[in-house]
Point group: C2
Chain length 403, copies 2
């Protein structure tokens, strides 16, 4: 199957469904890029500043990672996209030769005013002499104060694309307004219409500054309101985006989110589809069932640095999907994190050793858990793909949903 | 040439000189252990808590590291040697299958009272509820307060060997008293005689609790006083140690240290010889010239975490042996740290990228510089060995000494 609706077709980019579940929309696909193939369903790791916190790109390749995400906001302010561009783009700069995605930079800026906490940034706010702040939002764009040098800067749809073209990731996102969950329907609708206008401007700038090395995602907005989401979907479906992402608030309750995502996926045309910022194991299961291709979340690499290892239930603590290796119960535990895991950490180290590293404040503990958690995610995605390919998705889905 | 003076010979351990400079005592040797060969001259990396800070053992193997050092003091208090022993020893616990050395634990304890700053520990003192402190030194041993749980503990020669046998490194050190540089000759002599008595007790305990998987180093004391050093050498030469280390104060001025080390090496019998805690590039050059086999220092891995990369002169800043990648001059520098370095970092990343990682407080910067600095040390040691093997040591020595 080939992409639809007048999508700009570029050499080296394609999207092909390779397997489909017997019922529902769960599927496997191959997204081809100039930097290699992404097999979906898959997970995108966050390289916020152009690095996976605590691990090298070589180690990410070794765990089977296929797709990374860099943050435009962070890379714009430090080191600046001009320096990245002089290196020949983000791939060369960060030493990752596989597929890359950059976001628009909007999420980080809007999350300041709207009070949505971007945990990954939180630490920086305290360190900075210049607290980040959004100064105003107009039809033109967003004016904010850099947390690095205190300078005022405009992020507009055109500026976002200019930066992302300088960064040169395979996939880029248009600027949208990230409306928070406490917006009522009217405000959410206004925000959505502005997002559509900004996405149109983003796309126009992108088309005027043609490159055959990048393709663009569209972003569906509309908050928790399915009728607004339908309007947004109809808009996105008609634009020549190569792919699409689900943005904005999807509700506070998990059940509500799963239902909303499913409703959205019913109506979207068949293009590579990314669920922004969502990546719990159960979330991924439900997302795949609804037809989503890719997921991203800082969770696996972030909890690694705090001593937590992803692990298959039922052993995981408190109905979570991980164990905390700092707990005294692991002090003498000579087992690997998971006996059936093939990662470097599980092949070589016991839980007692990892417990010890965190007790001794050794950074290598975070590195070893990052390797495990990244590998865990890759094994989870591979298991999902295999279930779909072998025609066993329905069984797999029901089995893991229950746990 | 085989080890002399009634050294306990154990299967799997040997020391063979493989090349000798035409003049002087510089030489290459092979130290055989049950966990592999150490080619000397070589550098020992510090795995204080059983981990190289910021890098995995796999990455240390990749740079060519052959020999690691674990600290008995740290591993005794956290996780405790009993847990390491239950794992089958330090090799298995830390995932390093090559040669390992542990120290006696004395250095860390004595450095408290005597005011010698052990930089590597300094950070921990601030974090701890229980400041480490040495409570008393008697003929029996040293009583101190653990910085982890506040408990009082005795470190005696016998206890040190018991712990080190539990840890199971290939090489272990006897307990000695580390006299500081401000001791006068009389106090240094008293301390040296006590060290000799403690070394004798250490050796006796070691022989009574026989293992054919470990060999012991003797430690030459005597501070800056060559006549005391000669007494200590005569004592060590007569004991059946497999190898020997130069401990205690070697003077404050570098020139004084080089002269003293040379004086000591003249008189010592031919055994594997380690220079404790010394590892600057020039120090290594002079030590090799005097006949030293191995060196250790936290410097290469510690400065890496602070943004500094070892580099061949003359580019190194301020007549130091490194550059500080946090300096603004590297902001747009598209060169690798060293163009002729074959490490992962130099093959894949520019100075501008590394500069960016430190500016963005990304821990991966420390990891990438640790890889480079460790590889730099391995290349430096290999260059020294090659010069000796090719009969070009005198030229190499004169050339690098001048710079």
């Amino acid at each position: 199957m080939v992409v639809e609706n007048g999508t700009m077709s570029k050499p080296g980019f394609s999207y092909v469904i390779t397997a489909q579940a017997a019922t529902g929309r769960a599927h496997c696909a191959r997204i081809e890029t100039p930097h290699g193939i992404i097999e979906t369903p898959n997970f995108i790791f966050c390289a916020t500043h152009g690095a996976i916190k605590s691990a090298t790109m070589e180690q990410m390749e070794a765990v089977g990672a296929q797709f990374l995400l860099g943050n435009t906001y962070h890379l714009w302010l430090q080191p600046g996209y001009e320096i990245v561009a002089k290196h020949g783009g983000l791939h060369r700069f960060i030493g990752w030769n596989g597929p890359l995605l950059t976001d628009s930079g909007g999420f980080q800026i809007f999350s300041l005013t709207y009070g949505r906490v971007v945990d990954e940034i939180k630490g920086k706010v305290h360190r900075s002499k210049f607290p980040k702040s959004l100064l105003s939002i107009t039809e033109e764009g967003a004016l904010f104060r850099s947390h690095i040098d205190g300078r005022q800067r405009w992020l507009t749809p055109e500026k976002s694309i200019e930066i992302q073209q300088g960064l040169g990731a395979d996939f880029i996102l248009p600027l949208d307004e990230c409306a928070p969950s406490h917006f009522n329907k009217e405000k959410t609708a206004q925000s959505m219409y502005r997002s559509h206008r900004w996405e149109t401007r983003s796309l126009q700038y992108f088309q005027e500054h043609f490159t055959d090395r990048q393709c663009m995602y569209g972003i569906v907005q509309g908050g928790e309101f399915l009728d607004l989401r339908r309007e947004s979907i109809d808009f996105i479906n008609q634009q020549p985006f190569f792919a699409q992402a689900l943005g904005g608030s999807l509700g506070i309750e998990k059940a509500q989110m799963y239902e909303l995502v499913d409703g959205i996926m019913q109506r979207l045309v068949s293009r590579p589809t990314h669920l922004l910022g969502i990546g719990g194991l159960r979330d991924i299961l439900e997302g795949v069932q609804s037809g989503v291709d890719t997921f991203d979340c800082v969770h696996p690499t972030r909890i690694a640095r705090h001593g937590c290892a992803l692990i298959a239930r039922p052993e995981a603590e408190y109905a979570k999907e991980h164990i905390n290796l700092k707990n005294a119960v692991y002090r003498e535990d000579q087992n690997p994190i998971e006996t059936d895991c093939d990662c470097y950490t599980c092949r070589n180290f016991t839980r007692a050793y990892l417990h010890h590293l965190f007790k001794a404040h050794e950074g290598t503990g975070g590195l070893l858990l990052t390797i495990h958690n990244a590998r865990f995610m890759m094994r989870w995605m591979a298991a999902i793909r295999q279930a779909i390919q072998l025609g066993q998705w329905e069984v797999f889905y029901r089995q893991h949903r229950r746990r």
